[in-house]
Structures are given as C-alpha cells and as structure tokens.
C-alpha cells in the first residue's frame, strides 16, 4: 500500500517540479481567470442584483473553463521526450499514476478556485467569509468529480488528433451531474442556508465522485498503453 501511495506521490512531485521550473500552466490559468471576470462583467452589466443571482453559475463556469484548459494539458507533457513510454514501463499498478495525476489536477484547480474567489470578492465586492466552510465542502466534492473524469479523458485524448476539440466534447456531457449538483449546492451555501439543505445534491456529488474514481482506476491501465 505504501509503495502504491509513494508511486502516486512521485507523479505529483514530478509534475510540481516541472511546473515550478517552467511556470507554464499556473501563470496562464490565473491570467485566464482574470480575463473571465471581464467577460462576466460585460455579459451581466453593472447591476449588482444580477451578479448576485448568477454568482453560483458564474463561479462554476469559471472553474469549468479553467479546468478544461488545465486538464487537457495533464498528459501533454508526457508526450515529449518519450515520457509516455516511461509511464507505461513503470512497474506496478498503473492506477497509481492516474491517482497521482488526479491529485495534481485537484491541486491546480484549488489554486485556480482560490484565485477566482479572491477576484470575485475584490471586483464584485462579495464577502465570502461567512460561507467559506460550506463552500469548501462543495468545491472539494465538485472538483474531485470534475477532475476524475477530466484526468481520465485527458489521458484518453492525449495521443489523438483534434484532441483540443474532442476533449471538451467528451468531458462536458459526462460531467453534467457534477456541474448540476455543484451549482445547486453552491446556490444553497451562498444563500446562507445550512449545508444540510443541500444534502441531496451532496449525496449525488459523492456518488458521482465514487463512480468516476472507480471507473478511472479500473480503466486507466488500458488508456496508458497509448
């Protein structure tokens, strides 16, 4: 078991190192989040009530768009310098690689989400502090499910032509339950209601997370063959 966790951690650490040296993804993603804010502002206009009503949807729209960019790149770095073959030749259970990549994607998404929340708080003058515990729970569950499918499909499409097109086309319908329940649960939280009010949605989210994780772990080995 510990060898398995170690293998997964090695993948995460390797990706963190690569990112720290190249600083490719995060810089662009944070800048992209800032740009999204402008788009939202142009779309909704200055009226405060409209921003507040649309806020749960806007937040998730921001996470989804950033996630599409981030997850699509997960396995692209493995295409260079025969890294993909290195992954295939790694001894032991290949699903550890999936979980490592998934953990890395969740990390990236957490950074993006924190940045986007901060930007919303500043530019739209919204105080998130009373909602933070509930929001954190919803974001954790939603991000896990979204990233679980995103990581798997990122690996599936990594070696394909037209993958930039194919990846979102496959991912978006597959994660409809996650998006739907995350937005609904976020709505409950931002309305100031207790988290228990969104129990049905959270259960659905947890069930979806579980299904996606199990499918990802069981099928990843076949994807990795390339």
């Amino acid at each position: 078991m510990s060898a398995y966790v170690r293998r997964a951690w090695m993948v995460v650490w390797k990706d963190i190192l690569t990112e720290r040296r190249s600083k490719e993804s995060l810089n662009a993603l944070v800048f992209f989040s800032l740009l999204l804010l402008f788009v939202f502002q142009f779309a909704l206009g200055p009226e405060r009530a409209r921003v507040e009503a649309a806020l749960p949807g806007l937040l998730w729209l921001g996470f989804i768009l950033s996630g599409l960019l981030a997850f699509g790149r997960t396995f692209l770095i493995e295409r260079e310098n025969d890294c993909w073959e290195g992954l295939v030749l790694t001894p032991g259970d290949k699903s550890a690689i999936y979980l490592g990549k998934l953990a890395g994607n969740v990390l990236v998404m957490i950074v993006v989400e924190v940045v986007l929340l901060a930007l919303f708080a500043v530019f739209f003058a919204i105080d998130f502090t009373p909602f933070l515990p509930g929001l954190a729970a919803v974001l954790a569950l939603g991000t896990l499910g979204f990233a679980a499918v995103g990581t798997l499909f990122g690996a599936v499409t990594a070696q394909m032509r037209a993958r930039e097109l194919l990846f979102p086309v496959l991912l978006l319908p597959a994660v409809v339950p996650v998006l739907l329940s995350s937005v609904s649960a976020t709505q409950t939280v931002l309305a100031g209601e207790p988290l228990a009010e969104a129990a049905a949605w959270l259960k659905l989210l947890a069930a979806a997370d579980l299904v996606y994780l199990v499918v990802g772990v069981l099928t990843f080995e076949f994807v990795l063959e390339g």
Partner: protein, 216 residues
C-alpha cells in the same frame, strides 16, 4: 442468411406496428391524433437504452478479452443508439409543440435524453479520430464505460433538478393508467423497433468485421 430473415421480420413487424398505431389504437380524447407519435417516440427511446447497454457490455468485454468482436458489438450498438435517441428527441419535439406549446423545455427527461445523445455522439466522434484498431477500441471502451456508468446519475440529477415542475407520469409509482389497446399497440411497435435494431446491429457488425479483415 439469419440477418436477412431478421430484416424481413422487422419489416413485417414495423408494418404491423404502423397498422396498429393508425388503425387499431383509439384516437386519444384530449390530444387527438397527435398522441399517435407516442408509438414512435416510446419504442425509439427504449431501443436506445438497450443499444447503450450493449455499448457498455461490448466495452467491458473488449477490455477484459481484447477480442475485436466485442469492440464491433459496441460500435454496431452505438450507431443505431444515437440514431434512435435522435428519433426520440425529434419526435418528442414534434409532439411537444402542439401539446405543450413549445419545441423544447428543460424538463428532466428531455435534458437527460439530450445528455445521453451528446455523450454517444462524442463517443462516435472519438472513434473517428483514431486509426489504429486496438487503440481506438481501448479509448472507445473507456468512454463507453464511463458514459454508461454516468447514465443513472444523469437521470436522477436532472430528475431532482426539475422535480417540482414535471412529475413522472408513465413510469410513476401508481399503476399504469394506459388503456389495453394503446398498451398493445405500444408493445407491437416496441417489438418491431427491437427487431429493427437487432437487424441493424447484425448487419453493422458484419460490415465492421469485413472492414477489419480487409484493412488488416
């Protein structure tokens, strides 16, 4: 040829179904003749569910055995599955316009069927993007498995989402209020569509087999 016999059987059943839908089934009291779209709409969606279940079976079968036959089953089921889902959505839209007054509404059933459609259109797109048969089969199988595993979740999520607006009628908890001739007509058409699907499946699998042998 077994497939040819199946084809003729499907043709006969479809003629019988058409005859029953227009000759035997009574005119619905409230909606009038428009309601007869149901004999196309309901069998189409039931057949689509069957098709996507077979995509799942073929996908799992392929990953476990690596036999090309399982992949051909998944492909041969997915194409008519998308076709029948399309028929379901189109016929439902045509039915919805005179009865609900709109082509489309974001009701639970409609939304989940649309998502189903999109998932498997994506599946077919993916199949078109890879040339190597084994790579294509493996990638498609992963998407096919996740798509099928996702379906119950999609179904319940959208059901809850619009639960207050559109309660389920036919598959609701109460015993079905459908009159016997209507139920019988539905059954005939359902059998006809299943036969048609079985014929398409058999022929498509045969075509895929020929493609494989000549390409390889």
């Amino acid at each position: 040829m077994a497939a040819r016999a199946l084809g003729w059987l499907a043709v006969l059943a479809l003629i019988a179904g058409l005859g029953a839908a227009f000759g035997y089934a009574p005119r619905e009291a409230v909606q009038g003749n428009v309601q007869r779209i149901m004999y196309l709409h309901v069998p189409a969606v039931l057949t689509a569910y069957l098709a996507f279940a077979l995509v799942f079976v073929g996908s799992v079968g392929y990953l476990l055995t690596r036999r090309a036959g399982w992949d051909r089953l998944a492909l041969a089921a997915a194409e008519p599955g998308v076709l029948f889902t399309g028929i379901t959505i189109a016929s439902g839209s045509i039915w919805g316009k005179p009865t609900w007054g709109t082509w489309w509404t974001w009701d639970a059933r409609l939304t989940s069927t649309a998502v189903l459609f999109l998932v498997y259109v994506g599946y077919l797109l993916l199949r078109g993007m890879v040339d190597d048969p084994d790579r294509r089969a493996r990638a498609a199988a992963v998407v096919g498995i996740l798509g099928a595993a996702n379906m119950p979740i999609v179904h319940f999520s959208v059901k809850w989402w619009r639960a207050l607006h559109q309660p389920s009628t036919i598959l609701g908890p109460e015993p079905s209020p459908i009159a016997a001739p209507i139920a019988a007509t539905l059954l005939i058409n359902w059998i006809a569509f299943t036969l048609l699907f079985a014929y398409l499946l058999a022929e498509r699998m045969e075509i895929a087999r020929l493609e494989d042998t000549h390409a390889g």
